[in-house]
Symmetry: C2
Subunit: 305 residues, 2 copies
């Protein structure tokens, strides 16, 4: 078992640092799941101006976000799906903002990130920030609250992303930029009709057993066991559970890209397991991370100009 730390943390002045010497001997690179490639696309002219990549599970949400940020930044967009023809992820570009879906769970996110990082590198993008705008189950927070993640842990409460590489267990440190967390928290004060909490996020590999739900197809424990576990998480500073956070933090850290994770809590898991929001309430909640992300982006662009 091996813990690696090969990122030098110089976020500000550098682009995406691919950590793969083998890429230098590739004559061309096909980003298979994105349906893009160095031979078929002029990636620098398509993406060279990117400063923000917003990511989230569903294609539907990320299309909505693209529409929303276009209105907020007053940038015309045709909302065409750049990667739709590859049938895996959906990607929309609005000026300096990319909005892309990652599906559900760490492996789906990992595939997208590997190709996104190569895209950012080939396109010579500098100083890009990734913002995850997701949904989650909260722990001891009111439904509708936002959780900005300052620490990510796996299902055994370890701050790592575990991979099996060439038959060996490899642990990558899942570290987030704390200044960015504070910056986002500061901006969140403008939204006063709900709470924004800073806390740890646990990354789970399914929705039911791995999140301690008692309503899956298989469950060998009872309500009391669940509550004991969720309270243990709460005591450890965990305020929500998602299915991507350690992977996002570790993979971004490895290639020198800053990221911030903003999830809205759809429920308080200390009160129950089933999500039974009305469609209107769901839509309102789902929009909150998007509003915060958009305000963050606007402030950053104002500071820059």
């Amino acid at each position: 078992m091996d813990t690696e730390n090969i990122c030098d943390g110089d976020f500000e002045n550098e682009g995406c640092k691919l950590r793969n010497p083998n890429l230098q001997s590739l004559s061309s690179d096909k980003l298979y799941h994105l349906g893009l490639g160095t031979e078929t696309h002029d990636l620098e002219s398509m993406f060279g101006d990117l400063k923000f990549v917003c990511i989230g599970g569903s294609a539907h949400r990320m299309k909505n976000f693209a529409q929303y940020i276009a209105e907020q930044l007053n940038i015309p967009t045709d909302l065409s799906d750049i990667t739709g023809h590859a049938h895996r992820y959906s990607m929309f570009k609005v000026g300096p903002v990319l909005s892309i879906s990652h599906g559900i769970g760490s492996p789906s996110l990992a595939v997208m990130l590997d190709e996104l990082f190569k895209l950012l590198s080939y396109a010579k993008c500098k100083n890009v920030t990734i913002i995850r705008i997701g949904t989650c189950g909260g722990i001891g927070v009111q439904p509708g609250s936002l959780v900005v993640t300052n620490k990510t842990v796996d299902g055994l409460l370890r701050p790592i992303y575990e991979q099996y590489i060439l038959g060996e267990v490899v642990h990558r440190e899942a570290i987030l930029d704390q200044n960015l967390v504070e910056e986002v928290k500061e901006i969140s004060r403008e939204f006063t009709h709900y709470e924004t909490v800073i806390g740890s996020t646990m990354c789970a590999n399914d929705f039911y057993e791995s999140q301690g739900r008692i309503d899956g197809s298989v469950c060998n424990y009872m309500e009391a066991d669940k509550l004991k576990f969720l309270n243990k998480l709460h005591d450890a500073g965990v305020r929500n559970i998602d299915m991507e956070c350690t992977t996002l933090a570790a993979k971004c850290y490895l290639v020198n890209i800053k990221c911030v994770i903003i999830n809205v809590a759809l429920i308080n898991r200390l009160k129950g397991d089933q999500i039974s929001l009305s469609p209107d309430k769901y839509k309102e909640f789902e929009t909150r991370p998007q509003e915060l992300a958009a305000l963050f982006i606007k402030r950053k662009l104002q500071t820059k100009n």
Copy 2:
């Protein structure tokens, strides 16, 4: 660490056996990611006649398969997406066949399966077979060959699905029905213009490092290390790598549902990493597992009638 085996293997005469006593105290159950529920939908009348559930990564492929099986079985269909409004998975029903996407990777599949199993149970379906029609990287097999999986292993070559439940490591046996493997292999003899291989499948949690590719965003090994690993896999009987197999095998086994995994090899990984098939060749290859699944379904329905 705990190995569980709570399935009694009586596949023929029983339906989906949910292993969760807590469900009995639920007054209603919302299948959140499918956008279906016991209170809002008459699941038995909608799904009670199901005998086959075909699953695959992309919504696009599963819609194509629904169209194809409708033609093969001569059943009219409007190809409406039953779960599209929930924005996570796509589901199409054609008579006794359900065609549903599971996204990329084990967690995305696990979420779908948990809700599918509850759906099958609530709908009182009996003797259902799940067929995964996927794509994969082959190991020592010609591109375009089909691999029917007889054994699934994780990235450490263990025949298990590992979960973290309430902070503990739980191992579920990832076991496949060998009779079903032989049955599908027998039917595959009718397709003579390509090979169908029986072998082990390794389940990976990303597309690049975990599959030993040297063209990801991060890679700390070289071509020779990769080949050593792939040859080790080949010596152990592994003929392909996908991102879902152990999870599918273990979860189905737990709830007494038979499943078979048919993947088409898009490349031979001993020869390279990048997938550079022409669109026409890709479409032809992607269709092969669908043809085999459709023929299997037709034979089964003929035997029954």
